[in-house]
Amino acid sequence: MKRAAYILVRNPLSLTGVILITLVVFGALFADFIAPFPEHRGAVVDFANFNKPPEWPYLFGTDLVGRDLFSRILYAYRISLLLGVVVLAIAVPVGVTIGLVAGYIGGWTEYVLMRITDVFLSIPPLVLAMSMMGLLEPTLTNGMLAVTAMWWPWYTRLVYNLTRSEKEEGYVLAAEVIGASKPHIIFREILPNCVPSIVTKMTLDLGFVILIASSLSFLGLGVQPPTPDLGSMVADGAKYLPDSWWLTVFPGLAILVAVFGFNLLGDALRDILGVDQ
């Protein structure tokens, strides 16, 4: 623990990551108390103050119906983070289990499972999620479903490669010799040795899920208004460039800050847990 804290603080980039993510998570969790205009998360209009450049009390300016952008960004973070957590909570167990089974059992099981994985991997992620979102109704739940469908194969591939090298190790052989069952070897012997890589990837991916979800809503295939969403805020504001620049720049930077933070944090975890790239 002490070593971990030392690594985090010593490296300025890791420290930046910790600070950024703390701010983002804190802002999202306590948006009700921090946001100057909590009611602006919904369908509110305030035409007296529409399209205002950044000035007090509107830190990031206001949108075309007079809602405070800073407040909306905080609430958008809340939804993005929720989406990221739910997607990974489903995609990781599914992907990891398939990867473990395919890697350890081998033979036909491996062939079939890995070809199915290849199918998902050979449709560009965004295109797969877009098609699913378009065919379903664009809601938050369907957004989670679409992103999950494109996310699990990456964990399958990661864990599959790890399992294939782990199963040659002495400890697996020892477990086999004393007659341990396959589930025991897979989940109690091999899985714990894959955890550092999985945790590192999950940290990085929290950022990338936010990135993909915002891309979907940028194209109009994500969370629908009036729910605040970083991607659709950028898309709406882009029509009013360059005059109302704050409409696009601040939501865009908000995405950048969150993903950048998770990237730095993931790199730091990689150092702490000693995971190879």
Binding site: R115, P124, S214, L219, L256, F260, N263
Partner: protein, 341 residues
């Protein structure tokens, strides 16, 4: 049979299986959705008879495997059906919009190689210096924002505030260029119109750069970490003790072995670019597949969605086969062993 041919045959075979899988997957997703695609296509004013006639024509009342059979039969004739959105064959629509997207991706891919690899080499050679840190921050920023955010920021800075580049489009309207390849930068050269070529090239810089930023980041990071690893190998030590200049060591001894994983990443990034091109095209009003793709998705135009996804996946698989062959060409050891999928 030469090993390279055997590798090619094997990769083509696997890709074909995967492509059949892709078609089944996207076909199933497109057919199990709620709502009647015929009703959506015809709109609320169509009569029940009209809807029924369209359902009949699209074989929507048959069982799913039979529908898939019809689909495969048409596909083998190069027919992806009629788009319910444009009322034209899906293949014609794709043929019209795809070249612009491909051109954007090819230029972005070139930028990725020509900027990403040198950045990685510099970072590795001056490991721990300010240059290394600067490259690290640049590459992290590159992967940390979706390409539409970079597109908006680049547009704001280099098209609005500093009017160096055009804001939107592929070429100025005043140029009329006959389409040969569909790549404007090539067609203008075929036409011998240098002014038009300059104009087209000028238009493509910003969108391609926005598209390539995350790829540049990944290529640079990977090249750096591979080269750093190679620098620790004994043969580098030996080259140094022979007194080879550092530049030559970097280029000949450290860079070459690092090139192979970088090539693999470039192949994978191509997939990401095919998706991200949708975002960049939307910002720069680039007349490619993006607008068509989003329009057909929003209208639940089944044939067009299935066709577009299938073509994009086929291109992705093709690029990866080419990358594999390139790697086999560079590294003779791989010709004889199978690369892990």
């Amino acid at each position: 049979m030469p090993p390279v041919v055997r590798l090619l045959a094997k990769r083509l075979g696997t890709s074909l299986i995967v492509l059949v899988g892709v078609s089944m997957l996207i076909f199933t997703i497109a057919r199990v959705i709620p709502g009647d695609p015929a009703r959506i296509a015809l709109g609320p004013n169509a009569t029940a008879e009209q809807v029924e006639a369209l359902r009949e024509r699209l074989h929507l009342d048959e069982a799913l495997p039979i529908q898939y059979g019809y689909f495969l039969r048409d596909l083998s004739r190069g027919d992806l059906g009629i788009s319910l959105y444009t009322n034209r064959p899906v293949t014609a629509d794709i043929a019209q919009f795809l070249p612009a997207t491909l051109e954007l991706i090819v230029v972005a891919g070139l930028m990725m190689i020509l900027i990403g690899l040198p950045l990685g080499v510099i970072a590795a050679r001056y490991r721990g210096s300010w240059a290394d840190h600067a490259v690290r921050i640049f590459t992290l920023l590159g992967v940390s924002a979706p390409s539409f955010v970079w597109a908006v920021i680049l547009m704001l800075i280099f098209a609005f505030y500093l009017p160096l580049f055009p804001i939107a489009g592929r070429i100025a309207d005043s140029y009329a260029i006959a389409s040969v390849t569909g790549f404007l930068t090539i067609d203008t050269l075929i036409a011998g119109n240098l002014a038009a070529f300059g104009n087209a090239a000028w238009h493509i810089v910003l969108p391609a750069f926005a598209l390539s930023l995350s790829g540049i980041g990944q290529a640079a990071r990977l090249t750096r970490s591979n080269m750093v690893e190679t620098y620790d190998k004994p043969f580098i030590e030996m080259a140094r003790s022979y007194g080879f200049p550092e530049r030559r060591i970097a280029r000949r001894f450290a860079f070459r072995p690092s090139l192979i994983p970088s090539l693999t990443i470039i192949g994978l990034d191509f997939a990401a670019m095919l998706g991200n091109a949708f975002l960049v095209e939307a910002v720069f009003a680039w007349p490619g597949l993006s607008r068509y793709g989003v329009a057909v998705i929003l209208r639940k135009d089944l044939n067009a969605i299935v066709g577009t996804v299938l073509i994009i996946s086929a291109m992705f698989l093709l690029v990866n086969i080419i990358v594999d062959l390139l790697i086999a060409f560079i590294n003779p050891r791989i010709r004889y062993s199978q690369r892990a999928s």
